[in-house]
């Protein structure tokens, strides 16, 4: 008996794992009910047409038409009657992009434009959006030719859903959705990690100069264990004898670099101990200005360099 069971087991292993199937292949599936539930799950009222369109990808329509042509059905006389989601995707992308930038600029008024753009790019990346999309149930509802669903398809679909909500309920509700699902992913993230500064000390010099404050002076505050592998140096950066940033590091140069980054962090209003992002009713009351950009780090550096050249010439 044992040998028989063992043989059965080994045969099952040899055949390989169960084929990955789309959820719709199982018996308990009702596409209309699933679409309706999707809208209700997010707490929004969508119209059926726009949701259907949001989930229909160009690749699916092409695949369907090819299949019908193969079967001999004349595509022109019996059209599919499906609209794809390219328009809604574009609409959703514009709304989401605009809102994310405006929200960040309003939450962090002193943050550099480059940092805002870097955080925005991170949030709108395929990685982030596809992660969000797969966790609100878009994976099962998508009509597309690729299976398992690709990250790019999932993120496009999510933006199409945002576009569909904008079409049905207006910009405000779409922005609320973007805030609750996309901007919420920033909570707990180190924002300085998303934006890489190649020369934090140089930028700090430019910033302080533009504000008319004294130049940054790094000072070694503490050191311990110099002749060991666990050496630590704490460097503080002072401007007009006021401490603007400090950090510890394995070497003095590293500590100085980190301290400059700490100073920039404090100026931008990010880092631990600063205000968290606003959500819910408070965020609805936020008055956002979409167009004016924040100060640009590049421009500051260029202005500073020009001024230095003028000073050295004169």
């Amino acid at each position: 008996m044992r040998a028989y069971l063992k043989e059965l087991y080994n045969r099952r292993l040899r055949v390989g794992p169960e084929k990955l199937r789309h959820r719709s292949e199982f018996m308990n599936w009702n596409y209309n009910a699933e679409i309706y539930a999707f809208g209700k799950r997010l707490g929004e009222e969508f119209s059926n047409d726009s949701l259907q369109a949001a989930f229909t990808h160009r690749s699916y329509i092409e695949a369907e038409e090819a299949r019908r042509a193969d079967l001999g059905i004349d595509v022109a006389s019996a059209p599919l009657g499906l609209t794809d989601n390219s328009e809604l995707t574009q609409k959703g992308e514009e709304t989401a992009s605009r809102y994310i930038k405006a929200y960040l600029r309003s939450s962090y008024p002193t943050m550099f434009e480059e940092a805002i753009v870097a955080i925005h790019d991170h949030l709108m990346s395929d990685d982030t959006l596809s992660h969000i999309a797969s966790h609100i149930g878009i994976g099962d509802l998508m009509l597309c030719s690729d299976f398992p669903p690709e990250e790019s398809t999932l993120s496009k679909n999510f933006l199409a859903v945002v576009g569909a909500l904008e079409t049905d309920k207006g910009v405000k509700r779409a922005e609320s959705l973007v805030r609750d699902l996309v901007l919420a992913q920033l909570v707990g993230k180190e924002l300085m990690e998303l934006w890489s500064v190649t020369n934090p000390m140089g930028l700090l010099m430019a910033v302080l100069d533009s504000q008319g404050r004294g130049p940054p002076e790094p000072r070694l505050q503490w050191q311990a264990g110099q002749r060991t592998i666990m050496a630590v140096y704490q460097v503080g950066i002072y401007s007009d004898k006021q401490l603007i940033g400090q950090s510890a590091g394995e070497r003095v140069t590293i500590a100085e670099d980190m301290a400059a980054q700490d100073a920039l962090q404090r100026m931008m209003g990010i880092g631990s101990g600063h205000m968290p992002l606003t959500f819910r009713t408070e965020a609805d009351k936020m008055e956002l200005r979409y167009d004016p950009k924040n100060i640009s780090a590049e421009e500051l550096m260029q202005t500073y360099e020009l001024r230095q050249k003028e000073n050295s010439v004169s």
């Binding site: 209700k40 699902l181 101990g273």
Partner: protein
């Protein structure tokens, strides 16, 4: 409790659910039951009495009802993270099925394991984590050691012993003054 072999995890919240809006993680639930056998009686009662109310209260969850002949009844809950949970409702009365469905509705879909901590926070410290340099007197950084004047307990005010000795005109043995005077 601290066995490495027992599965455990930190409590987690996917997509920061609840921060903005709460999204019910139960995607769909399927009630499998038999129309005739007595073990499905409670499940059949549940479907007749309470199921429609459940669907009205939870429009974000798709409910499928699947009669299967001569099989014991069970619920299958599918969550947004792709996991499934099965609950056998064999011989259960209708209200017990209700309770199990409510349990499944309020779950996140994550596997039930021992939780290492009951809470999760991204900012455990708002004032900054302590480190040895935090509240040190900065003058210590420029002090060269040995510095005998720093040894010994710092007293802010005179102790009772000091006052008595002062009155008697005697210097305390082992005090800083006596040490320096010896040298």
């Amino acid at each position: 409790m601290s066995n490495r072999a027992i599965p455990n995890a930190f409590v987690k919240n996917v997509l920061q659910n609840g921060l903005g809006r709460y999204i019910c993680q139960l995607q769909r639930v399927t009630l499998n039951f038999c129309k005739a056998t007595p073990s499905s009686l409670g499940t059949r009662d549940f479907i007749e009495k309470y199921l429609v109310d459940f669907t009205r209260e939870n429009p974000g969850t798709v409910v499928y009802v699947k009669p299967i002949r001569n099989r014991a009844p069970f619920l299958v809950a599918e969550y947004l993270n792709g996991r499934q949970e099965r609950v056998s409702t064999k011989d259960m009365p209708a209200d017990e099925v209700c309770k199990w469905l409510e349990h499944l509705r309020t779950r996140s879909g994550a596997q039930i394991v021992n939780l290492r901590k009951e809470w999760l926070t991204n900012t455990p410290s708002t004032q900054g984590v302590w480190h040895p340099f935090l509240n040190k007197n900065p003058s210590l950084a420029g002090t060269s050691f040995p510095a005998p004047e720093l040894y010994g307990a710092k007293t802010e005010s005179k102790s009772a012993t000091d006052m008595v000795l002062e009155e008697a005109g005697v210097k305390k043995v082992g005090s800083v003054d006596s040490a320096s005077s010896k040298e």
